[in-house]
Each structure stands twice: as C-alpha cells, then as structure tokens.
C-alpha cells in the first residue's frame, strides 16, 4: 500500500475558497521512497505541506489524501502527527515559556499514550535527546531554552530535524529545511535525514536548491508550479532545473 496517496487535490485558504492555490495535485509516495518537490516561489509547496499537516486556515476543496490507507482529512493535526506524519516547518515558530525539553517529552508521551504505552523514562528520554542533539550539532543548553526562542535560522532548522529524529515518524515532510543552513550545517542535517531513511519510511523534501539533493538523493523529483505538478522525473531533473530555471514550467502552468 502507498504510504501517502494524494489524488486530484485542490486547496485554498479557508477565507477565500474561490481562489485555488493547489489545482489538482496527484502524488504517490511508497514506503522507502524519497520524493523532492521543487518549484518557484508562491507555487504552493508550503500550502501542500500545510494541507498534509492540517494547518488551520487551509481547506481541501476537492480530492483526497490517504495516509497508510486512512483519510488524513478526517484527522486532527495532532492525530496525524501521532499516526506518524511529521512536518519540518519552513518557518518554525518561537514559543516563549515552553522549554524545548518539556515540549519534546510532552510530544513523545502524547504519542506513547495514544498507543497505550507508559510515559518515557526520564533517563531514556535524556539519553535519546542528547544523542540526537550531538549528531545534529545542537548545543545541549539550547534544549533547556524555550522552543525556538532566540535560535538562529539555522539552529531552528537543525532542531526541527532533531524533533523528527526523536518522533520517528513514518512520513516526513521537510519544507525548505536547507534554507538558512550554512554549508557545513547542510551536510550535518542531510546526514541526520539520511540516517532516518528506511524501507518503511517515506520522505517529501521541498527545496529550491539542488545542493541538498546531492546529499539526500531523491528517488523522484517533481516540479510544482502554479498549483500543479507540471513535471516528474528522476534526480537528474533537479540538475536540469538548476541549469535552466523554471521558465519552461511556469509558462506551461500559465497556459
């Protein structure tokens, strides 16, 4: 069974359903596959990730998204997350007053509780957190600070991937995780993502740059323009785009 199956998805803002942002997306991701989505600014990439995660304010006006056979649209955002859908945000928000470690532990325990498992042992949690922090080059004292508060752009992105590693999701959606990362950090984060690649797990990687895809080599590359997937190919498509830009596709989308 496909891990994520998007069929003819149309989506818009809740406040303005007359203006479609996504205009018929079809996308199937099987377990073990890594898909990349590239596309010009404003194409609808983040909107797609928002609809998958269930961000309030966005509605699917038609079409469907099945995750592991279940209709995602019937699930609240927290249910989706507990079922194994993870979105690494393009712009992670700062939440003053909530310590990173408390947040992570609460999130992990919410998932365990839903599965009928007991809370994670404090020591096991600390160990896992420290190991992941080390691997992703996140200073331990950052985990004592409030969620994302005062983190640099790159630090926020690393911490998103740290969260992903802790949550062990089955379907990972990464929205421009590479933006804001310096060259060394890009490699560290890519290594972190690669370590999570597995035959059960699917990934959808949204990016503007081929560089990330040199490190996280995708199985499939899509071009999203004007709310539609206008081209699908293998990893060489990313190289073509890097060389030639989107002009050919945006024209196609407008036509």
């Amino acid at each position: 069974m496909a891990l994520l199956e998007i069929k003819d998805l149309h989506a818009s803002l809740e406040d303005d359903t007359s203006k479609a942002i996504l205009k018929g997306i079809n996308l199937t991701i099987n377990p073990g596959e890594v898909h990349a989505i590239m596309g010009p600014n404003g194409a609808g990439k983040s909107t797609l990730s928002s609809v998958i995660a269930g961000r309030p304010g966005y509605v699917a006006t038609s079409g469907s998204i099945l995750y592991d056979g279940a209709d995602l649209m019937d699930m609240e955002p927290d249910e989706r997350a507990r079922a194994g859908v993870f979105l690494a945000f393009q712009y992670p928000v700062e939440i003053p007053g909530v310590a990173m470690a408390t947040f992570l532990k609460t999130a992990l325990n919410a998932r365990r509780k839903a599965r009928g498992e007991p809370d994670i042992e404090a020591l096991d949690f600390l160990k896992a957190m420290k190991a992941n922090a080390k691997r992703l080059g996140v200073a331990e004292d950052m985990l004592k600070r409030p969620v994302n508060v005062g983190f640099s752009g790159g630090e926020k992105k690393r911490v998103e991937i740290l969260q992903m590693a802790m949550m062990e999701p089955r379907m990972c959606v990464l929205d421009e995780t590479d933006s804001g990362l310096d060259i060394d950090a890009l490699k560290i984060v890519a290594d972190g993502v690669n370590a999570l690649r597995s035959p059960e797990r699917g990934m959808l990687i949204i990016t503007h740059y081929q560089r990330l895809l040199n490190y996280i080599v995708p199985d499939v590359v899509h071009v999203l323009a004007g709310g539609r997937i206008v081209k699908t190919g293998d990893k060489t498509l990313a190289e073509t785009l890097e060389a030639e830009g989107y002009a050919a596709f945006t024209d196609a989308a407008a036509a």
Binding site: D78, R82, I95, V98, T102, T106, P146
Partner: protein, 438 residues
Amino acid sequence: MTETTDLIPRTLDAAALGADEPAWLADLRRAGLSVYRERGLPTVKVEAWKYTNLSGLTKIPFTQDDGALGPSDGAGRGALDLPDVHQVMLVNGRAVSLPGDLPAGVRMVRLSHLLATEPETVRPHLGQIADLSDAPMGSLNAALMGDGLVILVAPGVALDKPIHVVSVTDAPDGARHVHPRHLVVMGEGADATLVESRVTAPGAAESLSNAVTEIRLEARARLRHLRLVNVASEAVDLDLTETTLDADAAYDAFTLTLGGRLVRNEGRVRLRGTGAEARLHGAYGAAEGHHIDTTLVVDHAVADAISDQHFKGVVDAGGRGVFQGKVIVRRDAQRTDGNQLHQALLLARGAEVDTKPELEIYADDVKCSHGATIGELDPDHVFYLMARGIPESEARALLVEAFLDDVVEAVPEGPLREAFLGAVRVWQARRHAATWEA
C-alpha cells in the same frame, strides 16, 4: 419586596460592641462600625469597587460565624501540599491546630489568646498598621473581627522552614459570614517565608470571608508571602492585606487565585523606610462564573524605595478579571523605582477583563512605569504543538502555563514552585473537564 440581609444588624448597639474587651479594642470596633454604617456595603458607584459588585451579598441569608467550628471531614482539600513546613490550620480564622516545634524567637498564636492573656503585645500593631478609614469592608472587619492568627518573629531570627497556613472557610449549616483578622510582625532583620492556602471546606454552604491582615516589617526584615486562593464556586472571599516596610525591608508577595464566585485580593503596601523593596506578583485563573479582583496600592512615602507589581490573568468564557493598581509617590520619595504591569490572556469569547492603572506622582526624580496588555493564545503556537502530536487541550494548557511562567518565577524554585504549578495544572484539568462535559 425581597428580603435583604444586613451584615450588621441595624439594631446593633455601638456601645455593646467589644463590651468584654480592652477599651482600645472596643474603640477600634466602634470606629469600624461608624465607617461601615456611614458608607454601607460598597456599590459600583464607589470608585475602588467600580468593577466588583457586592450587591449579591444582600440576597444571601447570612449569619455571622460564632468562632466555634472545628475542622470538618476533608477540611483543607485544595490547599497546597507542602513537605517540610510549620503547618497550621485555621477554620473561619480560628487556629484548630498549631505547630509545636517552632524555633526560638518565633510565635504563632491565636489572636483571641493574645487578647485574653497579653493584650499589650497586640495593641501597638492591631489596627495601627492598616488604615481602614477609606475601606468599607475593612471597617466591617474591624467592627466584627473574629479570631485570627498572630505570627511574631523576633529580631534577627530566620525561620528554618516555611510556615504554611491552611485557611479554611466553612459554613456547614447555612450561609455564614466571617471576619478573620491576622497580624504578622517581623522584627529587625528577621526572615521568613509565609505560605497561605485559602480554601473552602467541602460541602460548605455559601460564605463570605472578609479578612484583614496587617503585616509589619521592621528594618531589614524580609518576608516572602506566597498565597494560593482556591475557594469554592459559591464562596465570596475578600482579603485586605496592609503591609508597612521600614528601611531596607523586603516584601516579596505572590498570590495565585484560582476560582471563587467573587474574590478580591486587596494589597496595600506602605514603603516608609528608604531602601525598602516590595514585589507584588501574582496570577489568576477565572473560569465560568468566577470573578477575581486584584486591587493594589503601593505608597512610596520616602526616597529610594523600589516597588514592582506584576500580575497575569487567564480568563475563560464567563469569567472576569479585575486589576486595579495604584502607585503613589509622595513629594519626598525621590529616586523611587515603581513599576506595574498587568497582562491578561483571554481563552475564549465572553471572557472579560477590566484594568485600571493609576500613577499619582508628586516627586520629580522618579522612575515609574505601568502597562497593561490583553491577548489570546497564538493559533500558530497551538498548531505547532499539535503538529508534534500534542492534543489541543494539552497544547493550550501548556501555553497557558508558559504565559504564567515569568510571574510564577516569583515563587522560590523547588517544592514551593512545584506546588503552585501543580495547583495551576489541577485548575486547567478541571477547566478542560468542564469544557468537554458541556
């Protein structure tokens, strides 16, 4: 015509008040009676009571507490659970158990006991610290004052562990009004942490507690005064605490109020010694049917003193928060540093908050500020937490706790802070349970 209740019967004879008490005490009662008779139960036309309406009290068939109740089953439920403290339980102001192992130089006694055995110990303080002439409910307390707790800490004595006063209001057999009167005197350089839990006995009928606490901090004395007000939805709980600080004394107050049909925490602080510092911090949670009023007056009478008021309120649909904060800086109070901030978080439509900041400044070289904000939970924050699998109710509870985080820091870290945070969590869980039932 509907029957209305008078808290003081019209027939009460002033001459009969305090008949078997020392003359100075009888005078105190009569002074209170005359102020209260003149002003009556404050209405919303009285500026200081503009947002807090007591008129509902006249519809409750109250009788005055007789000071004879013992602790009922479960009395103290809802109080903080604190390990390693000197604990005392009061029922309607009267101590029903007193700790036996107090360190030398510390006394904790019933007011009634001191008045009967050594009135001269009380006389310099009782009614001398608080000026109640402009406080109708405080005056009513003076007239009708019942028993209360007296805490005396000798100069230079530092308490080994916190005092915890569990103050229970009970009305087992019909509505009662009660007027507890407490006194805290800290000698020069004394140091103590006083924790109070104000609760209602399980199953109590409607009640009005109208307490006055007088606190004197002599030079360099330091008091951390932490309060939890966790009274029943039928309870009306009025408290007026007046504190005077001599030179270099420090008063660190934190009040957490979680519910009550009508709660008013009125704090008056007089900084009358240079170098004195008062921090009045607190938080409250007002859910459906709850009205929580914080009214503060800080009076900088001398130069070089510091005051800081910071309260945060969390208000749900049908709840109401009131914050009135006043800073007075007298002519001589140069180089005063006085700040005031009230921040409210409205959890739903139909939540109401009224704030009235006032600065009265007569000195020219001062640093004063005041501010008030009203906000809601940020939907992006809620979504971020939910996107990590945290259910909405839990996400919102976490964010409410985060909102309160910086004021709760006024409580010393460790078991005390944990206990206060625990009370906030219970309150939140109860609120959510109510939401899901509805």
